[in-house]
Amino acid sequence: MTVMAQASSNRWQHYYTPATVEEAVEILQRYDGEARVVGGGTDLLVETRRGLHKPVSAMVDVTHIDGLGEIAVEDDYIVIGCGVTHSQIVRNPHIIEQGSCLAESCGVIGGPQVRNVGTLAGNVAHALPAGDGTIGLLALGGEIEVAGVDGARWMPLQESFKGPGKSFIDRYRQVLTRLRFRPTGPGEGSAHHRVMRPQGLCLPIISMGVRVALDADNVIGDARISMGPVGPVPHLAEPAMDVLIGKPATAGQYAKAAAVALQNVELRASKYRATREYREQMVRTFLPAILERAVERARQGLS
């Protein structure tokens, strides 16, 4: 019989599964930095097992909170609770239709076992420069709700990123409770693509998402482009977006957007993952490809 003789450095003492946000926040407050929020645990616990995190006394599992295990379609938003897994998102007909790039980006995460427990909230709170779900939500113009002792407030997703793996969400004191985005309507479309390699760590070479709005004259009214890893945090490619807005949706224009996107970021070589040249080539190939796909989806909504 294996008995847990004493708390070893990568174990905790208590595992809480609060049913309300208030309760979760109260537990975190009580532990005063000695408790950590956990979602599916597919990042946190794998790392904890390896001893990569400072030991905590308690884990506060926020996937059992009433009402936050669902995807809700509200007037202006599709709202995703922090208990919602990637598998739920991938299967959700509203997100497939009106947030395609989020469904696509969550669909490439890990394998089924990871998607069945890993949450979008966890992907966002983990704050990697190229978390796939995060890249997808960023392109959609996502917002997140963060709750703490001072109550809850909504903020734009991109304001939460502090650095690689670092978030302005205090994961010892705050709960990312909900995520939302405006669903794409008629004349709008979105798409995501990721390039991987079959060797080494399961980290993307490049992950990109786009959202476009198209008018009846084939002119792009609005565009958002997200990408990573191109720097310390998930990147919103604003200059490239500007290249597209007000311009016709053509292959030439997409290529220009890709060129501008490349001019404005410092792509780097990462050992055993990709050379700079390869990364650039992937942006040149796939940014236009997903723009094309998103525009195609927008056109379908128009017809």
Binding site: S8, G111, R197, P198
Partner: protein, 917 residues
Amino acid sequence: MSALRMTLNGRPVEVEVHEARYLSEVLRGELGLKGTKIGCNEAECGICTVLVNGTPVSSCVFPAYKAQGANVETIEGLSADGGLHPLQQAFLDQGAVQCGICTPGMIMTAKALIDDKGAALTEDEIRTALKDTYCRCTGYGSIVRAILQAARGESRDDSGRASASSPVGQPLPNPNARAKIDGTARFTDDYEFPGMLYARTKRAGVPHARILAIDTAAARELPGVQAVLTHEDVPGHNRHGLVIDDWPVLCDDKVRYAGDAVAIVAADSEEIAAAAIDLVKVEYEDLPVVGDALRAAEPGAPLVHDGRSDGNLLKHIKVDKGDVEAGFADADVVIDRSYRTQSAEHLFLEPECSIGIPAGFDPGEFGGQVDDDAVRGETARHAKTTIYVGSQIPYQDRDQAAAALGVEPDAVRIVATLTGGGFGGKEDITGQIHVALLAEKTGRPVKMLYSRQESLLVHPKRHPTVIRTRVGARNDGTLTAVQATLYGDAGAYASLSEKVLTRATTHAAGPYEAPNVKIDCFAMYTNNVPSGAFRGFGVTQSCFAIESTMDILAAELDIDPVELRHRNALDIGRTTSTGQALRESAGLRECIDKVASDMRGDDFRWTWDEGDRRFAWGVAVAYKNTGLGGGAPDRATAEIEVWRGDETHAEVRISSAEMGQNLPGVLAACAAEELGVPVRNVRVLLGDTDVCPDGGPTTASRQSFVSGNAVRMAAQKAAADQAEHVLVRYDYEAPQTRPLGAGGDMHFAFSFGAQAALVEVDMTTGEVHVRKVIAAHDIGRALNPLTLRGQIEGGIVMALGYTLTEHYIQEDGKPWTNLMARYKMPSIEHAPEIVSHVVEHPVAAGPYGAKGAGELPSIPTSAAITNAICRATGVRVHSLPVDQDELLRACAAGVDTIELGWGDLEPIPQVALGGRT
């Protein structure tokens, strides 16, 4: 402690468990359900998959309390009512169970899928759902067939086969498979003994250093620690090794690689043992690191083993036939190219585990019963020091452990448990000696289970090599000379390097007749992880080199590559590089013909485009010896006991390892065939050194041939004796072979094979997918077609991983590959369609004509794939594994070769033909 309540396999359970436990730990620990297996504890391998509310999850990172109130299903729930679930039946029928360590997780993942999709389930859906549930043995083909069979509610009636009077040649399921599909099969970590302690090893962590001091005081004082041992506590010989005893049981003067063992601890729990290991302090003086084989060969290189007159040279292996210079002078074309192959990890899904039981152990002392199964119902007492281990070589484990303990070999007993995959990676000693030492020191059973990370760090890998190959031919394609120079990185200890690299050397000219051959191979000690046996045994590497060069030659001469191979192929009447004239059983040309005609089919094209994707075929051939050869006596002793009554029953006993290759099934078939009884009446006992005579090592594709013959002959003798109870012991010795260099028969048989690979290269990313492999193998005789298909599919997919995804990366003696997350073996998404033709050119001395089949299928695959890539893209890959980044940039730049494989930082070093010496 709190109460965890859940519905487990349909029944409510409530257990008191610590809140920091993972579901896998509670299932295997408190609840005693050992059917859920652990392969990595990293959420990577998927073999720990269970269903929570109907959904597959990795239980190793799933906090137990997350399952509070949930409905949990494990493999044990599937056949709870005694009958088999259709999936379980289908896994049996299709031979989808080999070592079986992945089977429970695989079945549970598949169950959720079938529950969801029902009979409409498609193959694509299976591939998506099983993406992260890995199997290292089967190559996935049989798993897909099994899941489809179960989903469609089909059944296969095999009852007739099991009672057939001539079982040899029948597709019979592995007799061990039944226990592997319902979670009752027990691997070493599934055994528990009363009073058992848990052990851990202090690893060097540095690749090369002199040990100045080892301080164990703090570790000894930690409550719960029962023993801390260093080299001073090894009573016998502090070295082990299968060929040369150069590997310290516990390091004394130096550490020579990062995984070296410096101290061992036994404690009341794993956590305490781990904490104690951190308290062991070792003071080192760092020494310069020898990072690869070529550096090791440089004059003045630091010495890995002090005081050797040959420096870091472990062995210079030579093949010399005719006069190569004359041969090159005679050639119209000479091709001279260099290749590099990487270090590769076996990644058997069961990490190493050993349990030591002290001599005279009485479970009663600890208020416990030993479960009978644990000792095969034979005795509950352990009169001798006993080691439970999933071993490939039980008798050598025994002898090495006895030497370290300072006792006679007969004072140690090895009980070989089921092995969750080996592939050559479980031949060397890992924890066997350590647990024996700790058990004897503490007087208690001691279990040492390696974590996946420790397994990656410690056990021998496939040899990284640099191979320069020079081939001369006439305009009609006839070979005139082959020269090759190989440098093999043996790592820190000898292990089986000499044998492996001998095989690389003797097979370096390919399965061809060349009149003039000169091969030089330098096995070099370095401060890397030792290299040892790995399916293919060195031939994998040299085959990649020669078969790449043959395609270059074909292009140069503008001869069809199939034709070029056919023309030069070994055949009866032709002579190998080592001077062995083949007199029988050389079916290579038939293999080539079979593959070529299948590949060429209707409207055949070597290459074509579909949008951005480019398709092309590539071909390669190979041969592989059966048995140890080289003059080494190759023996196996088998015992058979026969009871004649209303029905005749028999028990076969031979100490050999079952790693999922269905050795028990093959041996049972041999015995049943001779005795004329149904195969189900034959029981096979393997691998208990006190019960089973020595079957020799499970290596060199020798078991079917050597052990098969031993059993067959024992059974023949038993059949001749009509007494009611017969016991026969038969010592079989395989036909005599001659040492390398002596000419004549170096091996008593060779298997031959040809493969064609269809690859798809995505010209936008450089990604390579293998879509189809057509294979033909001459293995003498298919003793069991179901088992053979499993070996072929598993071997090809394993080789595909070696070619495209796998590289065990070391940076100056420090492994970068320190997690399973950093080493990707092929998943089901990589598995191609495999069409397999069996060619049967029987070998007279083999059992029913059979020769080895375990390794051959994984040998020609790499070159078949890279030859196809070259045809598709015009780019020749010289280093494995293929890097899509390099490939795409080469295509864009119009460069026709790439020298960097994934994980390589430097181009292939220049090697002088004949070597530096």
